[in-house]
């Protein structure tokens, strides 16, 4: 129950913020200031406001930080991304345009770290940290791993692309208000699952 109140509170805060520019557009806006949730920021302080598209982290094994002391093992994958909102808009083909690079998030580039080598669609990917971005097509998403790091928006040096992979799409009846990226366990590894609006994309990873 408290979770629901919390969610309402967040929505109300966000609703009050309507009318400001959004920060989740698929275009590059290097000079754009980060938009923020309506949390009071004193002009006398230099500290950053709380982001409108908040950052989040997903691990595989799922919820690793909570269970690491039972596992006695290193995490396999960590994803750091920011979560733009649907806010009543149609996402695919509208906010996220087909056949145009999309940052798979907001603000800082989406970062994935493999703590050991993995295989994605029969291609070996060395352990390490990568930027992840997307080329959304109508019937699938092309997910690209890039060796450049710590960039913003879509300012990605495509000469540093490592490889690209196909994520299959399904349409759901439940709507994801916030862009969401999580891992789910499979027989041979994990799926990296992206959900936003009524679209779910799955990228199988094996290890």
């Amino acid at each position: 129950m408290p979770k629901i109140f919390l969610f309402i509170a967040v929505l109300c805060i966000v609703a009050c913020n309507e009318g400001k520019n959004d920060n989740d557009g698929p275009t590059t806006a290097p000079a754009a200031k980060k938009q923020s949730l309506n949390v009071k920021v004193e002009a006398s302080h230099p500290y950053a406001a709380v982001d409108l598209s908040p950052m989040d982290m997903s691990y595989f094994p799922v919820d690793y930080p909570h269970i690491k002391h039972q596992l006695q093992d290193l995490p396999l994958i960590r994803l750091i991304y920011s979560r733009p909102q649907k806010k009543g808009r149609t996402i695919m083909g509208n906010v996220v345009k087909y056949d145009q690079m999309w940052r798979l998030g907001a603000n800082e580039c989406t970062e994935i770290e493999f703590f050991r080598p993995v295989t994605i669609q029969e291609k070996k990917v060395p352990a390490g940290r990568y930027t992840l971005y997307c080329m959304p097509r109508k019937d699938h998403w092309q997910i690209v791993l890039n060796k450049g790091l710590y960039s913003w928006g879509l300012d990605i040096d495509i000469s540093k692309d490592i490889d690209s992979f196909t994520a299959n799409l399904t349409t759901t009846t439940t709507i994801a208000e916030y862009f969401t990226a999580v891992f789910e366990k499979t027989d041979k590894g994990a799926n990296l699952v992206f959900a936003w609006d009524d679209t779910v994309a799955k990228l199988p990873i094996t290890f």
Binding site: K3, L11, V39, Y47, A48, A49, Y150, W152, E177
Partner: protein, 185 residues
């Protein structure tokens, strides 16, 4: 009327969310700070004059009208210095904190707040949650830092890096308390 429409929208959306298994947005959203400050935007604008030296990933609880230190958070107990996932401090080169040499890599930050000073803890156990499993044996360094009081409170826990004469500082501010951690390169 507008409120009523909004309420309906909220209820509808909440129901939708409740049906799905996707994680909700955190009450204390995550954020990142860099040295140089705002590094990704500097880089994109070709304005970065120094390489990336440090990054902190932390979650930002809100004051929400509460007195944070000494009331919501007990003095003299290890605090996670954030919320949710443990706060991560990463160095992209070797640095020095206090008398300790800190190798480049990822660390977890904790602190023990008290009235006039904080003990800041840099610990080697990463990818953890809260301070529930904090293990002193994995400390890389502990350093005592004076508390600076501010007149105007800061609503969300905030961290930022700044350049100083001979070092860089990690500033940590929440409510009316401010701490400065000097990091030497």
């Amino acid at each position: 009327m507008r409120f009523f429409v909004m309420l309906l929208f909220v209820l509808a959306t909440t129901t939708t969310m409740a049906q799905s298994t996707l994680p909700a947005v955190d009450k204390s959203p995550m954020d990142m700070a860099y040295y140089p400050a705002g590094y990704p935007l500097l880089k994109v604008g070709d304005k970065a004059t120094e390489p990336l030296l440090a990054r902190v990933i932390y979650s930002r609880p809100l004051k929400n009208g509460r007195v944070v230190f000494g009331e919501m958070l007990e003095y003299d107990k290890v605090w996670r210095l954030g919320a949710n996932e443990a706060t991560e401090l990463e160095f992209y080169q070797n640095v020095k904190i206090g008398n300790a040499k800190i190798k480049k890599g990822r660390y977890t930050l904790y602190c023990i707040p008290s009235v006039n000073k904080w003990t800041l803890i840099v610990n080697k156990e990463t990818d953890t949650w809260g301070a529930f499993k904090y293990d002193e044996k994995k400390d890389a360094v502990r350093i005592d830092l004076p508390v600076e009081k501010m007149e105007v409170p800061v609503e969300a826990l905030s961290m930022m890096f700044e350049k100083a004469a001979k070092n860089i500082n990690l500033i940590i501010a929440w409510d009316t308390v401010k701490i400065t951690l000097p990091i030497y390169l």
